[in-house]
Amino acid sequence: MKKSLFDQGYLDEQFCQVEDLQDEASPNFVEEVVTLFFKDSGRLMSNIEQALEKYPRDFNRWDAYMQQLKGSCCSIGASRMKNECMSFRDSCGQGNVEGCMRSFQKVKREHAVLRQKLESYFQLLRQAGPAGAATRPIM
């Protein structure tokens, strides 16, 4: 499953790095980080949503928020989501409200998809058992 995630571009190399950091000392590191990511990104996205409403055409503000979100995505390797963030920022740069709105929708969608996929992924890991979780999945 992981392979498919990579193939489809949901995740990138960074995710592997994060996984590499998991060891005996922190056996659930990846899951912790991912959970943290979704929590934080959810917050950020609602911020952006609010900003889109409350501050129309405030591209700077939107851009700033989106930058934060993009940073998060980068850190865990959520590449598709990251791409959408970038296109959002591009639209901001162009002053394209419509473009921003569209991009943001895409960001939201990617976010939801990724969450789903990763949840499945972790479930699989858990099902594989402690031994399976400790070792790197070869899927």
Binding site: Q14, Q17, E32, V33, F37, G71, C74
Partner: protein
Amino acid sequence: MRPDERKGVVAARRDQFPVGMRVLAVDDDPVCLKVLETLLLRCQYHVSTTNQAAIALKMLRENRDMFDLVISDVHMPDMDGFKLLELVGLEMDLPVIMLSVNGETKTVMKGITHGACDYLLKPVRIEELRNIWQHVVRRKFSTRDRANLDIYEECNKPSNADSDHAHGHVTCGSPDQSGRPSKKRKEYYSEEEDEGEEDNTQETDDPSAPKKPRVVWSVELHRKFVAAVNQLGIDKAVPKRILELMNVEKLTRENVASHLQKYRLYLKRLSAVASQQVSIVAALGGRDPFLHMGAFEGLQGYQAFTSSTSLSSFTPHGLINSPRNNPAAFGTQRVSASKSIQTVTGGHALNHSICDANKYHLSSPGNQQGNLGQGMATSLGQTQMQPKWIQEETDDLSTIFSGNGLANSGMSATLQGVTSSPLLPQELVECTQVKVGSQPSVLTPSVSSGHLEGTVGVSSSLLDPRVSQQTTIPLSEFSASGLPIHGLFNNSCATKLGATSSASTPVHPSDDLLVARDTKAGASSFGSTMLLPPDTEQKYLNFGGGNSFKHKFDERTADSLFDLKFVWSSGLSSQSASNIGAHHSISQRWNNSSSNNSNIGARMIGQPSSSASTVAPHAKSDFLISGDMLVPKNASDLSVPKLQSELSSSSCSFDGLLNSIIKVVRSYHPLVSLPQHPSL
């Protein structure tokens, strides 16, 4: 883990640097922060994290030594990453790595210009983090190197780890460098100057690093600074300790470092100026042209100085210069200086400018002239020092300076620059100018050389010749002004010249320069020490503080004049060493003393440079004159010596010097209200 426990662990790990390097990671993004932390831990660093810049700063401020490196995100909600970067660099001098998802060139450029030692893009890879320890090492090395490049090499052996990394510490005190090529110094000076000026709002030319918060060096603050420096000794005054002693909130080590650098430059300049002044005074033949010199560096009218501390600063300068020439000259110069100061009541502004000017002058030979002129102007104005007396000094000095002859003229020339007064200053300025170039040679014998060493690499040379001239000028100046000093100087000068140390009152041999030196300098132009604190205690001649002077004195036997100068810089310790009592006292005295004493003496003293030493001997006589000035009593003799001692004592305290100078001046000219010690 409790802090102490952790420290233990950390300490253990740090022995295997880069393993155990202590990193502080700051990022508002929790995901990123967590990943970063783990990556760093994987590199075997010790990591602390926070998602708020404010907390990070707090942690850093609480214990600067707890971290080796800071990694910070650029975009943070509570504080801009660049701002944090600046603050950390300023206050703690730690290497900071910027982190951002934004890799645009301009952003990266911004990071670099703000002082980041590296800029990483998110997502951060572990390979990149494995090498960040190089920044810590690099910074350590460069600090050490910078220290070694201390321009004031002569003054000191920089090796203070904590000295400003930015400016090689200049401990103005070691006379070793007299022969240093001025050119090198000049370059370095300007470089240092730039760096050092950053946080002095009052500094007019402040090209230093961008965006450093400006610290206003008020008189009060500067006083504290000077006191702290004196307490530590100009040689040992490192920003960290100074900061601790000063105990001022919101003052960073960086501010202090920068200020210290400037102060050192100032001291050097003072010595240069002092010598010049002396000659100028002599040349001027007893008028108060120096007073007119108030227009130092464009300062309008000394009048401003009189009350402003700035004058005080100048006087020392001028005196210092003169000391070279005549210790007595200094005295007179001082007197005139004080007078000038009084006249110039320019207030701080003037002082500052003058001081600054002097300071800067000292630092750069070219400038010197300006400074000298200024300093001299003040002093010269007052010092109607008899030309003759000055002559003596000058002779002494000139020999010493070998090339000083030029200096003298240079000095006057500089003075000229400063004031329109036809007085010697011009000569001095010229001399100084000339000297500047040829300085190395000059310094040697004359007191001025000694002085110069400390204060201004370049200027020193200039001073020498100038000093002699200056001394005369000041003397003459004094006479013109009617200062009794004038007479005194002559007499005293003579004596002083002969026996630098003897002249000054019991100048307590301040450890600093002067005392030691003075002996050598013989008639060191301790005149500069004139500014002895208003106390008519002749003892002031102890230029205690003038550590630098001391050095100088030794070198310059004849640099009595310089003594003055040094005294000024180093607190006029120059008094023929013997007198170099407590510079600090002088400077302090000055500081404390009312406007009269305003820091003229202090300033001079401030220049720990060798001038102090030279000044000592002469200082006595000079001080008498000047001292009187400051002190309404006519114990000109007293005053002069006192000044000297004062000067010496306040080795590093310009304030002291200025004060003493002012005092001296004041005594002679009751009307003259010495300016307050300008904050550097």
